[in-house]
């Protein structure tokens, strides 16, 4: 009856999602990745591990996060119902903590004493520094020098949490360069260091395990929709940087044929200007950071500098499972400009009293467009992946206000 592909078949045992994914790293890291893969395979269905993870999500992160019907926004937009999955209410303010809790548990099992992370907006850095503080582990976070500047608040938070924040000045001085530098650290310190990757990218098994940890979002949202609205949503919307909050929401719904899905990339100044961060819209397959996926690159295979007002979406690649989902046609990938995202940021703040992260504002902006085209009895769930406190400096400086 169904033409849907078998979503549970990916990744294969080598970490491939169709032609995407895989493990394209230097030989030095192959051993550590196999070790991680083995540990994860052993623990993922282990009752004690699952119980520890669930316990931390409930009592430390504060899950389940609410599914909130944004009634005033819905009225204002005048179309389908807009519901918000409130990942912004998690401890540390974004979905990123779901994953770092999971990886920290894995790190503990490896016996390693030091964790490293890359970060763009600083949310993953904060979430990593947080779990490291809790485990008493040394923590080093790599962050593009430009992002250090635009996410000052998060930099200070990480320092308060005891992490060392290393500004990365090579290349485009943003997230991709932070990831390069984290990889270099890992190659050098692989014996005692666990690399906590912040999104569904990187070499196998990261895209799979980060997805699995983030799927709590979609599982909750599915149950909450049934409980609160008595039905499944008609559409899901999430922003896509590397794609972890999006896959976390989408994955548990993939077999629900009636649910359409929209992954929202950052269109920056507009796709046509070239100044954007939308590899699924305007890129092509290539290999970067350990996996094959859609990339923004020159004809010559050099990675192009990206642009987005939101540091967490400012990345030239995307998780390999999204690349695969795009090709299968199951998920629609769309994009939203800086201006549209900023408008949505202001609107949600003023209408609902909820200040979204600039990343999440991309999802809100698209959901508003979509709602307008859908009848009032339809239901859209938007992943409100994080809160906007960290972005106040960016918004203020666009308004020429000093805070």
């Amino acid at each position: 009856m169904s033409d849907l592909p078998d979503f549970s078949s990916v990744p294969d045992e080598r970490g491939h999602f169709g032609i995407y994914g895989g493990r394209f790293v230097s030989e030095t890291l192959m051993g550590a990745l196999s070790e991680l893969e083995e540990i994860y395979a052993r623990l993922k269905d282990d009752a004690k591990f699952r119980a520890d993870f669930d316990y931390d999500l409930a009592h430390y992160v504060g899950r389940p996060s609410p599914l909130y019907f944004a009634e005033r926004l819905t009225e204002k937009v005048g179309g389908a119902q807009i519901w918000l999955k409130r990942e912004d209410l998690n401890h540390t303010g974004a979905h990123k903590i779901n994953n770092t809790i999971g990886q920290a548990l894995l790190a503990k099992h490896t016996g390693k004493t030091r964790v490293i992370a890359e970060t763009g907006a600083g949310q993953h850095g904060v979430a990593t520094a947080t779990v490291a503080a809790r485990l008493g582990m040394k923590c080093v976070v790599y962050m593009g020098a430009d992002d250090v500047e635009r996410q000052k608040l998060n930099v200070f938070r990480m320092k308060l949490l005891g992490a060392e924040v290393v500004p990365v000045t090579s290349g485009s001085r943003t997230l991709k360069d932070a990831m390069n530098e984290a990889m270099r650290d890992w190659v050098t310190n692989v014996d005692d260091t666990f690399y906590i990757i912040g999104t569904v990218a990187g070499p196998h098994p990261y895209p799979m395990l980060v997805r699995d940890f983030q799927c709590v979002i979609g599982r909750e949202a599915r149950a909450q929709s049934l409980a609160q609205a008595d039905k499944l949503p008609d559409a899901l919307v999430a922003c896509v940087g590397g794609g972890s909050n999006a896959i976390g929401l989408f994955h548990p719904f993939l077999n629900d044929e009636s649910v359409s899905m929209y992954g929202v990339e950052a269109a920056g100044d507009g796709i046509e200007t070239g100044r954007h961060a939308a590899p699924l819209a305007a890129g092509r397959p290539g290999v970067l950071h350990g996996n094959r996926t859609y990339l923004m690159e020159t004809d010559d295979g050099q990675i192009i500098e990206t642009h987005s007002v939101s540091a967490g979406l400012d990345y030239p690649g995307v998780g390999p499972e999204h690349a695969w989902l795009k090709d299968t046609g199951r998920v629609n990938y769309v994009s939203v400009t800086d201006t549209e995202a900023l408008n949505a940021f202001r609107e949600l703040t003023r209408v609902e009293g909820i200040m979204p992260a600039l990343e999440s504002s991309h999802a809100v902006a698209y959901a508003e467009k979509l709602a307008r085209e859908m009848p009032k009895d339809k239901m859209i769930v938007v992943n409100l992946s994080g809160r906007g406190d960290k972005d106040i400096h960016t918004v203020a400086s666009l308004d020429h206000i000093e805070v």
């Binding site: 394209f24 051993g31 360069d177 270099r184």
Partner: protein
Amino acid sequence: MSRIANCFEQLSSTGRKALIPFITAGDPAPAHTVGFMHAMVEAGADIIELGVPFSDPMADGPVIQLACERSLAAGTSLSGVLKMVAEFRQSNSDTPVVLMGYLNPIEAMGYEVFADRCVEVGVDGVLLVDLPPEESGDVAPLFRERHLDLVFLLAPTTSEERVALIAKAGSGYLYYVSLKGVTGAATLDVDSVQAKVDTIRKHTKLPVGVGFGIKDADSAKAVSAVADGVVVGSALVQRIADNQGRPEVISGQLQEVLSAMRQAMDAH
């Protein structure tokens, strides 16, 4: 016999080890690379590893990262690098040339087009830092059919099981990365290199080159006592960085470093 196999055979018949310099192609500008290659051969280089610049050289330290940036800023492309090899071959038909770099520029060109071009211009081998044997299924047969060697890396973290796998997948020579780290990192420990090279030799008859951490004549000599080839990169690339805009000075300095290594390696 391939140029690489021939090179190692000749060396071993005279009891010598291969001196293998690495420079990034197009650094500081594409026009200079072929001149540097000839200068290095004159100073005693046996095989040349030519780096294909990439925007995101994840396995490289600051020295080679900056070389990639200079080279790309000067307009180097993969097809440009292949043209350099063609030009080099006009007056050198013996010295093997191995392209070293990251997978993405090759993937962007297309594996088959790339492999054909390599044969056309006289490239002998290819070493792709982020292509372990497990992911080489698409590429390896294309290279094999054309007698292009696919050189793989081995690392201190490589288990003996993987040594066996890599030894089987590789051709030309195997490249042992002597330390955990990026290019240009601290100095290596010859005893542990010796132990690992011994393990590698249990699984292969291929020559074993050692690189990362070789900076001067002393370290080159020490490594040449345990390996079949000595790779030197960052120490040369630093000379290029220090003398941008003065290609003759660079050629002279590359020769100085390599001659000293050559002498130390050949002295018994």
